[in-house]
Symmetry: C2
Subunit: 346 residues, 2 copies
Amino acid sequence: MTKKLNVAVVGATGAVGSKMMEKLVERNFPIETIKFLASARSAGKTIEFNGTQYKIEEATPESFEGVDVALFSAGGSVSEVLAPEAAKRGAIVIDNTSHFRMDPEVPLVVPEVNRHVLKTIPKGIIANPNCSTIQMVAALQPIREKFGLTKIIVSTYQAVSGSGIAAIEELREQSAQWEAGKNVEANVLPVKSDVKHYPIARNVIPQIDKFTDNGFTYEEMKMINETKKIMEAPGMKVAATCVRVPVVSGHSESVYIEVEQETTVQEIFEVLKAAPGITLQDDITQQLYPMPIFAENEEATFVGRIRQDLDNKKGFHLWIVSDNLLKGAALNSIQIAEALLEDNIL
Amino acid sequence: MTKKLNVAVVGATGAVGSKMMEKLVERNFPIETIKFLASARSAGKTIEFNGTQYKIEEATPESFEGVDVALFSAGGSVSEVLAPEAAKRGAIVIDNTSHFRMDPEVPLVVPEVNRHVLKTIPKGIIANPNCSTIQMVAALQPIREKFGLTKIIVSTYQAVSGSGIAAIEELREQSAQWEAGKNVEANVLPVKSDVKHYPIARNVIPQIDKFTDNGFTYEEMKMINETKKIMEAPGMKVAATCVRVPVVSGHSESVYIEVEQETTVQEIFEVLKAAPGITLQDDITQQLYPMPIFAENEEATFVGRIRQDLDNKKGFHLWIVSDNLLKGAALNSIQIAEALLEDNIL
């Protein structure tokens, strides 16, 4: 990678945006120029990137002139308006919001799983999948390639950072209120823009994103629909229950799968050991299994607690953990950009 | 209930024992005499019950002379030795530990589900099931009676109080350490007597109880085996993944079931509305669903988030929450004693 790129980051001050900046530096992403764009409200503030201060500019259609790659993480409504404007001006957009994910003309990419779809980018926009989807498909794809995969039932244990910096602050404040025996105030979770808010400290909330008409939440439907799209498996059976837990960063998932071809836990161990981006943590004699506090700031997706179902030889249970701000968001976005460079698309 | 009983409480100072005492008073359990028994270490201390101070006596076989009903909650090794001694002296033992649960001669009882097995108590010992099992079978039995039940896959979100008072204290201390930016010390969870300990504050731990050879933990095997025993359904397919979360009291469960006979969410609503001990909390237009902080100190088992599976008309997803120290332990034990009285067994 000797080519250097002109990069724009939209939404750099958010929980995901700041991790994108970290990863651009850590991974030596080849930057010729970089600019930081935000709403008029944040424009004019300064932001530090790799030791240099930058002024945040107001994001307008013209901001994307001369930009090669634009990383969007400023909410669906910003992406809706500005991602096509960036693409029109020749930038390739990597969008971290849900806005374009199910658009049939927008590739939805986890590089380890479906990098080949990057060959065609009809709208100049690539979508980064939902955080809880990414780590699950990253862990299941190697198993699927070897043994086939017909069914997934997942229950999630999702960290508050998936709801942004305000949710992290709220967990901290509620914990302090709780310790002090004060009333616990809730204003952010489960969904800032929904009607009711519930405490997350010392609680779990079985609602992430709003409800759809079929009783599943949008988060659950994202896991179901995005998994089928990324795996190119419209007939795969997928069900999800998404739950918020009082963890800062690191989503955990209890996953039941059914494979096509009989196999063993030992064979799944071998497949996962060889899989890119996956760290197997599974040794019950050492109490070794993935946990979110140890996954925080790590790039890998951790897999453990792998058990064959006691009633179905083709059924397996797994426990999958990853940092939702990294592989679940910022890291996967940067990995998409790296894949574009390696494949000479950028 | 005019008959009054001589009661012994073994392990009254524990998390479950103190709730047993609360429930005996609240529910006006007909007590003639009551005594509080413990190890030699705790003997001599005083304990308050219903406004009177009692001296804790050392539990010996002779302590149970003249006792009608003995409530045990002092660990499996205490029950192993003293429950048969109490039974030998004519007491009916209601044991909250796991020691006798799978003994074919010991009824394992959730009164709403299998009260009829109380007719035969060969050893004079009745076992109170595992906390996470009780709330699940209480919620599923009404559905099973109406529509049949062939399969259960459950992922739990279990509160720290299930590991006793020391675990509650540890969550509190770790939270304070975490807020202060100090090192977080772990000495109790996941299992006090296991080799490694992990923080629970801001974490989830996919281990409850020790591991068995098949990769499942004892807690998971308890849910699997006890469910089949209570429901008298050895061929039912049951799988469990048990996870500890930083909640004080109130276990939550994400449960997938398959029924025998096609039905609808609306019909399941009707069945649960009429079920004893169950409170339906399911209205997505009002963001109404069960959560552990609102279940604490409540006697009911709360059920919500009921959805038909999108791929299987006989598949349903549910979210079940109950106070693990009450319906999951102390309350269910007292309800067993009440059933014995009502059925003239005591």
